[in-house]
């Protein structure tokens, strides 16, 4: 019964809020926010209780198998170590986002947010494919509604998101039907299909498309950057930042570990790794040239999904563990980055990286959390992103031992990591360093309700890096049914890297450097010319002046040199025309088809009669041939 609470409670309260009179919320301290916060708190506590309870099952037979020829559909919820952990994470992020949204004005925002949480809880706990599809579709509609609340032009983005996510839902339905055909059941825990032969692979791919669209891996990613540009910021932090990854990767884990048995180095494993590595590199390459902060984060999110898919693609314990750990870490720092961007936008009203700058002094907390998260996403030790990427790399190295050619995926992942660091340096510079626009002189730090989630998330990023053993040993290892001992030994396998020890050493080194610096008290400062990696810099018009237009060097231009290479530039130009967007491409093809068909709908009666007689004649001919000639 307790499993029902995190589903029904938020959903019902959300529904009630929907019927609360009025559209805009008046004062800052409105009852709706408090109700939403209270609901989330209770649900969060419930999730902790579920987490501590271990395995719980809750089944209501809705449509029994026995009395008809169709599939048995049962409202089947399962709370075991893995789903409990994901549920806990989901509600943790939900709680933080609710706190962050304290000054949100739209009433429907809270309603949809709570309903999203209810539907996602259902998706996580469901043990029946139909119930899962139900929840999945519900989340898609709510995403559509939430994105639609955003800034002007959001409808188009919401549109695209629903068509892609809702469309992939239909493909998953098809996949579920194939699974039912092969196993005779829709109960997920009873399904274990070896991934061999045409039908299992078709079913696997259909479900995979749904998952990848949700999580946002290439080539099904294209709704994320669009949504990122228009949706309300907390929604971004919660949905593409945390929730979609939680749901998508959770299901990917169940797909590759439970429903199907993915063997390392098999064809599907390679497919996953190809998708993963292309996503990593291509998305971050797109991110490098974004001017809109949120769109940049959107592409960066897509890139991070690549690591998770890559980890799962190895099919090896270490890789899967790494993929899962990376999913958790990514949710943490990506939410923090989105929230930080929201804070910047709230205070400056600006999201264009070219027009931002010099905010590090004015918004110190936002800056610090943003910095930590950026370094974490770039995989700088000892932060969390490093630990999880390290695990994924280790998994890949194991695989390279079996299949040497997979080395290329490892290299792609590492290269992507470098580009990530590069792209975040650009963003950090653009927002927090460099020239501060005059109109931003009076910018202040955001309120407590916004600072708190950011600080918590940044602390987690540090904590999960420095004490990486803890989440792996106590949460992730048990979630995946890895024997704690095995988890520990596999941790010891991680090269010579011991996160805590390394952190101590790094801190010691820093301290040493600081002492030396203090002891010597640098007296003379050597002045040298500005050097930016060989780039030419416009010389200031007068000595010491940096306020002229020419002297500025916005961070967004860091990598423009890359575009000077013709091959890259051409590729980018094609990408800008949305050539790689599967949504736009299918739209173009289907539009062509539809226009061709419309020609036949001429509106002339004789033509229509012609179709009828032609159609009738064809049927007649075929039947007579079949019956009297070929018999």
């Amino acid at each position: 019964m307790i499993l029902l609470l995190p589903i029904i409670l938020p959903f019902l309260i959300g529904l009630l809020i929907l019927f609360y009179p009025g559209k805009e919320l008046k004062s800052v301290k409105n009852p709706i926010f408090l109700i939403a916060l209270l609901t989330m708190l209770i649900t969060f506590i419930v999730s902790i209780m579920i987490f501590s309870q271990g395995r719980v099952n809750y089944v209501i037979q809705v449509v029994p198998t026995t009395d008809w020829s169709g599939p048995g559909i049962s409202f089947d919820l399962i709370g075991y170590s893995f789903s409990n952990f994901i549920l806990f994470a989901l509600l943790f992020f939900g709680l933080l986002i609710t706190i962050y949204s304290y000054n949100q004005k739209q009433k429907n925002y809270f309603a949809y947010l709570l309903m999203t949480i209810g539907a996602s809880s259902l998706a996580i706990l469901s043990n029946n494919l139909v119930v899962l599809l139900l929840a999945w579709g519900g989340v898609a509609i709510l995403l559509y509604l939430l994105v639609g609340l955003g800034r002007k032009g959001a409808e188009t983005a919401a549109n695209k998101a629903l068509v892609m996510v809702g469309g992939s839902d239909v493909l998953m339905l098809l996949g579920a039907a194939f699974i039912y055909f092969q196993t005779g059941t829709l109960t997920m825990s009873e399904i274990a299909i070896p991934l061999q032969g045409a039908l299992p692979i078709i079913a696997f791919i259909l479900l995979l498309i749904g998952i990848l669209t949700k999580a946002g891996a290439m080539p099904f990613h294209s709704w994320i950057p669009d949504v990122a540009e228009y949706a309300p910021v907390p929604v971004l932090a919660f949905l593409p930042g945390a929730l979609d990854k939680l749901l998508g990767i959770y299901l990917l884990a169940r797909l590759t570990l439970d429903l199907f048995k993915l063997t390392p180095g098999s064809a599907m494993s390679i497919v996953l790794m190809v998708i993963g590595s292309i996503t990593i590199v291509a998305a971050v390459a797109m991110a490098l040239f974004q001017r809109n902060l949120l769109k940049f984060l959107g592409f960066s999110t897509v890139s991070q999904v690549g690591y998770m898919v890559l980890g799962f693609g190895t099919g090896l314990t270490l890789g899967i563990l790494g993929g899962l750990f990376h999913m958790v870490n990514n949710a943490i720092y990506k939410s923090c980055l989105f929230l930080g961007s929201g804070a910047v936008e709230e205070r400056t009203g600006e999201l264009n990286l070219e027009k931002l700058g010099g905010l590090s002094r004015l918004m110190p907390i936002t800056f610090t959390t943003f910095l930590i998260s950026s370094l974490a996403i770039a995989g700088i030790p000892p932060l969390s992103g490093f630990a999880s990427k390290w695990l994924i790399y280790q998994g890949m190295v194991e695989l390279v031992k079996i299949k040497p050619y997979t080395l290329i995926f490892l290299l792609a992942a590492m290269f992507g990591s470098i580009l990530t660091l590069a792209s975040y340096l650009m963003v950090l510079h653009s927002i927090f360093f460099g020239e501060r626009p005059a109109e931003m002189a009076k910018v202040k730090e955001v309120g407590f309700g916004k600072v708190l989630p950011m600080v918590l998330l940044a602390l987690l990023s540090v904590g999960f890096g420095v004490f990486a053993q803890l989440p792996i040993r106590y949460w992730l290892g048990p979630s995946l049914n890895i024997d704690p001992k095995l988890a520990l030994t596999s941790l010891n396998l991680i090269g010579l890297w011991n996160p805590t020890l390394a952190t101590i050493l790094i801190l010691f080194g820093l301290l040493l450097g600081f002492i030396i610096y203090m002891l010597r008290r640098v007296r003379a400062v050597k002045v040298s010319e500005v050097f930016i990696g060989g780039e030419t810099v416009a010389t200031p018009t007068r000595p010491g002046a940096i306020d002229t237009e020419e002297a500025k060097y916005p961070g967004t231009h860091f990598y423009d040199t890359i575009r000077k290479v013709k091959l890259f530039d051409d590729t980018y130009k094609i990408a800008d025309k949305r050539f790689f967007d599967i949504y736009e491409q299918s739209r173009a093809i289907i539009g062509l088809l539809a226009r061709a068909l419309k020609r036949f709908q001429s509106g002339l009666l004789p033509t229509y009669l012609g179709y009828i007689f032609l159609g009738g004649l064809v049927i007649l001919l075929i039947v007579f041939l079949l019956i009297f000639v070929f018999k």
Binding site: V62, V63, P64, D67, W68, S69, G70, P71, I73, V130, L133, L134, G137, G138, A140, I141, G148, E155, T156, A158, N159, L162, V163, G166, G167, D169, V170, L171, L173, L174, A177, F178, Y180, F181, R587, I590, G591, L593, A594, R595, L597, K598, Q601, L605, T607, Y608, L609, Y611, I612, L614, G615, G616, I619, L620, I622, V623, F624, L626, I627, F628
Partner: protein, 503 residues
């Protein structure tokens, strides 16, 4: 005393009375007709529900017109499939006439409208209960002729043209059916469905019924608007007044086309693999071509009309598969489509009523001014595109699973692809129409009146809850009943004869 013939008698008499009163007492005509027509449709719906319980208890109800037993007299036979269709017909009929109270104020001669509507209902009710093939043809003609007149009801240039096309093509279909009935009569010497069924089953030489089978397929395919026999529908359905569009798309194509097909092929002359394959090909073509034509339509009623072609393909997919699950899915989608398409057509009528246009390029931002109507449209279109948890999802789920279990992988894929395209098309429409900025010309629009709102609210509620039809206790008394009636196949004849006490 068996009251089943009342399904035909009451609306037929009602049509007569409304026309008579309307044309003589001009002053009270509108009010009188509003009340009378709604009372009659409400009665029919209530009577259908009562009959459902009876059918659920006794499996079928039989009545002999004039006391003549088969094969001599006309038999009236109501089984699970018939009562299922009757509930849909009378239910949608009632909600349409309720909607019409306010909506039809835009037209003159409201009484003529009600008279035709009742005539159409009488014809369809007759199709559902008759056990006689020629009788069926007569009822098909009654409802078809009423619907030709109703399509032309606005008497504008476009409406007349559409009605003319509809009539020409519809009559070709009717002729095919008539010709086929004539051939069958020539071969078997009887018109009683049960008797034909027995005669055909007793005769192992099936070559004689090949030609009439094909004529039946073509005739009913025209009535059901299956690709490539569909081309009258996109003109005819949008031209009618909204309540009639709802009836035409919601029930007429199903009763005249799909029900005719399943009754004739499953119960009378028997399904052969060739026939079911032809049905499946027609279903696949309708699903995908209908939805492709639906994309990019700017006239909302035309868009809905194309959507009907695609959805009727889904319904036929279930019946073409012929498995118990497929047939159940077919019936399930049939009722879902009737509900959501009626809802959407009525909503489009409401939008036209309030704004005077149905071109999505001239609309926008309606969700601010017409929140109720917008919610109705949102839910209706999500149901139409098979988004969970609405009813359309469940029937598509059943149909896709049934297709895969029958190893029709391609049809399952087509069904899935059409669902995605339908979603894309509906989302585009509601973005242009409901979201965004309100055009200046529409700043003065108001929400629709109560009678329209009520009927829409009921349909919208049904869109949400109809998924519950799958629950075993409900399913056993509605969907299973209909499915079993079809699954008895050519045993139909024996059942009727047994019931008549002739065996």
């Amino acid at each position: 005393m068996n009251l089943i013939p009342l399904f035909v008698i009451v609306p037929l008499a009602g049509a007569f009375v409304t026309y008579l009163v309307g044309s003589i007492f001009k002053k009270i005509a509108d009010l009188f007709c509003d009340v009378l027509a709604n009372l009659i449709t409400a009665f029919l719906f209530a009577f259908a529900i009562v009959s459902l319980f009876k059918v659920a208890a006794e499996k079928n109800i039989i009545h002999f017109v004039g006391g003549w037993r088969p094969p001599i007299g006309i038999t009236i036979f109501l089984d699970g499939a018939g009562i299922f269709l009757l509930i849909v017909v009378t239910g949608i009929g009632f909600l349409s006439s309720l909607f019409a109270i306010d909506y039809m104020k835009r037209y003159s001669a409201k009484y003529k409208f009600y008279a035709l509507l009742l005539l159409m209902t009488a014809g369809m009710a007759g199709i559902c209960i008759t056990g006689d093939l020629f009788n069926m043809f007569v009822f098909i003609e009654i409802s078809a002729i009423a619907s030709y007149a109703l399509v032309a009801f606005g008497t504008e240039h476009e409406e007349l043209e559409a009605a003319f096309k509809y009539m020409v093509m519809g009559e070709i279909g009717s002729l095919m059916i008539l010709l086929s009935i004539a051939i069958i009569y020539a071969r078997t010497g009887t018109l009683n469905m049960a008797d034909i069924s027995q005669t055909v089953a007793a005769n192992p030489e099936r070559a004689a019924i090949v030609f009439p089978s094909i004529l039946f397929i073509i005739g009913f395919a025209i009535k059901a608007a299956l690709v490539p026999f569909h081309s009258w529908l996109p003109d005819a359905h949008p031209s009618a007044p909204a309540p009639i569009s709802a009836m035409l798309s919601g029930v007429v194509i199903k009763v005249l086309g799909v029900y005719g097909l399943i009754r004739v092929f499953y119960n009378i002359i028997g399904v052969t693999p060739i026939i079911s394959n032809i049905l499946l090909v027609l279903a696949g073509l309708s699903m995908i071509i209908g939805v492709l034509l639906q994309l990019g339509q700017n006239d909302i009623k035309r868009l809905l009309a194309y959507c009907s072609i695609s959805q009727i393909g889904y319904v036929l997919l279930g019946f073409g598969l012929g498995t118990p699950l497929g047939i159940l899915g077919g019936f399930f989608h049939l009722i879902n489509h009737a509900v959501f398409k009626a809802g959407l057509f009525l909503t489009s009528g409401a939008i036209e009523y309030a704004t005077g246009t149905r071109d999505i390029n001239k609309l926008g931002g309606l969700n601010k001014k017409m929140p109720w109507t917008s919610v109705f449209w949102y839910i209706g279109s999500f149901t139409a595109s098979g988004v969970p948890p609405f009813a359309g999802f469940w029937s598509k789920l059943i149909l896709i699973i049934a297709a895969i279990l029958a190893k029709s992988y391609i049809l399952a894929a087509i069904a899935a692809a059409s669902a995605i395209l339908a979603l894309a098309s509906f989302i585009r429409t509601q973005r242009r129409m409901l979201a965004g900025e309100l055009p200046e010309a529409l700043t003065g629009i108001k929400e629709i009146p109560l009678s329209m709102k009520t009927s829409l609210a009921v349909l919208t509620l049904l869109c949400i809850v109809l998924g519950l039809l799958l629950l075993p206790p409900v399913r056993a008394n509605i969907l299973d009943l209909a499915k079993d009636a079809v699954m008895v196949g050519t045993e139909y004849g024996r059942i009727v004869f047994e019931k008549a006490g002739l065996l």
